[in-house]
Symmetry: C2
Subunit: 347 residues, 2 copies
């Protein structure tokens, strides 16, 4: 199977995230991508290639161009403040701040800009962030191109991840929504509908928002019930899309301690929705943070289940782009990803 | 002059605020209120009295009752997490998260709830916060009652401050909008329009939001230009209200390094707007953070100017409730407040 990756992810190397105002070591580290790459290489069944530069067009087809411009300028902004370290917001544009007043304009001052575009304190910007997120988008697009070119499946080793990034806000370790950018690219290139299946532990709130009113992109997500789990403000089964997108969003909340068997049952329900949706192409947002050992989540999946999840996804018979999202238990990450991909590929 | 205060403010005693993800000693400390109280007592021209309990009615006339309930429950929520310390959010409900999807429902989980109601990381909740903010609202209401009872002017030594709290979101050291609660109480009790003049360094975004569409409450604010200054997302002179409130909001941005003379010129413009507004009653949001020595702001006012600001406010001839907001240079705080109040009272 073709696997696309870029070493430029390593430039995005913040040391901390801020939880409840406390700086702790960040879970989303460069070693994640390196662990996966090493496992792909060791397996021998994957051809690793670099990404092709797609420019800003496919990104701006999904995200507000002003957010992309901000990401390009953010580190320079921060350096101009002379503070050093890593940029996270302290003051965020909350809807209650302008209730009844209409949308805000982007502030010009750095402290205002970061809170205009970012919704939380766990996604620091550092000097190499912009180059890394542009490379991650290209990794996803290049894997999509491979599938457009006839490959049955391709893997995009994206880092940073993407599924929490919405049209005009980022956070949750994510800056640009690599899976959504790839899906939109596939829609435009094929002229056909595309399904997105999100098996990361966390609800892909960004992807849901981006395709909420789109009838030509199905979004189906299995995730820790957001009544208890990040990102809190979306992800309920009552959310099914709007306008032309009515019925093209499906959320399947997972209970705490969810087992392999229970997960596979719920997965089958999600796969039925994909099978009933038109189109030949599937994008999978793959997170390994559903694993029992994951340090930031609360399910009970074992490593053995990932090949079976992959097998059931592969059984859909769709051309498939697998895009890496989360997963924070470093010792299991490579095995989990390889297992899933071999399942998809029938290996 | 009557001065209302409550010792219960002291229960709100967080040690830190979080700026750009970094914990630093908080500027909004109990010693602020104690410094002002000591200066009022030393002056001899003030009668200090405690607040009367007004219940939740006047608060719920201004704020979302669900936010008040959250403030009452927040510390219990936080203790249930077993984390200790001080509660600030890490994930905030940003409008981009639900763009096109309609408003969010309040999450049930503590990490979601705090970011649903609070827009930043500099307003920690501790064990005594709820009692303190309820007392501060009563302090403002009791000063308003004094003016309703015939006093020419009364001072509310509110702490925590209030003017950054909007209908359904809090932050900026503020939880409940003491000045807005007092203003609404005055409107309801007199049946007449009320003007609010905000001379705190920071734009009173909460007060503006609360009265944005109200023609019976004028909001006039002089503040550090929010193109450079907190709270960033509101405060421009183009914002003048909407609906019945069109023309009843006036923002006067102040340049960096603003001098006494320049300030008084701009103040006169603001006072003209108040003089042209019907009604007999004025609420002043008083911040001393316009002072050159203030550690978190950038104007160049001297202590000598506050009696003159007070004198010009007093010359409006309106019954006046002065509500304490910010001011973080402890050694000057008492002298500044007393000077302002003596100016208002003609002393």
């Amino acid at each position: 199977m073709l696997a696309v990756w870029s070493g430029r992810h390593a430039g995005h190397d913040p040391q901390h995230e801020v939880q409840f105002g406390e700086r702790i070591p960040i879970y989303e580290v460069p070693a994640r991508a390196e662990a996966i790459r090493a496992a792909l290489e060791a397996d021998g069944g994957f051809s690793l290639v670099g990404p092709r530069d797609h420019g800003t067009g496919p990104i701006e087809a999904v995200h507000d161009p002003a957010m992309l411009r901000y990401l390009e300028e953010a580190w320079r902004d921060w350096e101009a403040l002379g503070r050093g370290g890593e940029l996270v917001p302290h003051t965020v544009l909350h809807p209650g701040l302008r209730e009844g007043m209409g949308p805000a304009a982007e502030p010009s001052t750095p402290a205002g800009r970061i809170g205009f575009w970012c919704f939380e304190t766990m996604t620091p910007i550092v000097a190499g962030t912009y180059e890394a997120v542009r490379a991650a988008a290209d990794v996803g697009l290049t894997a999509a191109d491979a599938v457009l070119g006839g490959e049955r499946a391709a893997y995009a080793l994206c880092r940073p991840p993407g599924h929490h990034a919405a049209r005009a806000v980022f956070g949750g370790y994510c800056f640009l929504n690599n899976a959504a950018i790839a899906a939109e690219h596939l829609v435009r290139e094929t002229g056909e509908p595309v399904a997105v299946l999100d098996v990361d532990y966390h609800h892909g709130n960004g992807t849901q928002q981006l395709f909420w009113e789109r009838g030509d992109v199905l979004y189906v997500s299995l995730h820790g019930d957001t009544r208890r789990a990040y990102p809190y403000f979306t992800g309920s089964p009552e959310e099914t899309g709007a306008g032309r997108g009515r019925g093209a969003t499906m959320n399947v909340p997972l209970p705490e301690g969810c087992s392999d068997d229970r997960y596979l049952d719920l997965l089958d329900r999600a796969l039925e929705a994909v099978a009933g949706f038109p189109g030949e192409t599937l994008v999978v947002s793959l997170g390994l943070d559903t694993l029992a050992e994951d340090p930031i989540t609360d399910l009970a999946l074992t490593l053995d289940v990932y090949p079976e999840i992959g097998r059931r996804v592969g059984a859909l018979g769709r051309r498939t782009v697998v895009v890496q999202e989360g997963g924070y238990h470093l010792p299991s990450l490579g095995e989990g990803v390889v297992g899933f991909l071999r399942g998809v590929g029938g290996g």
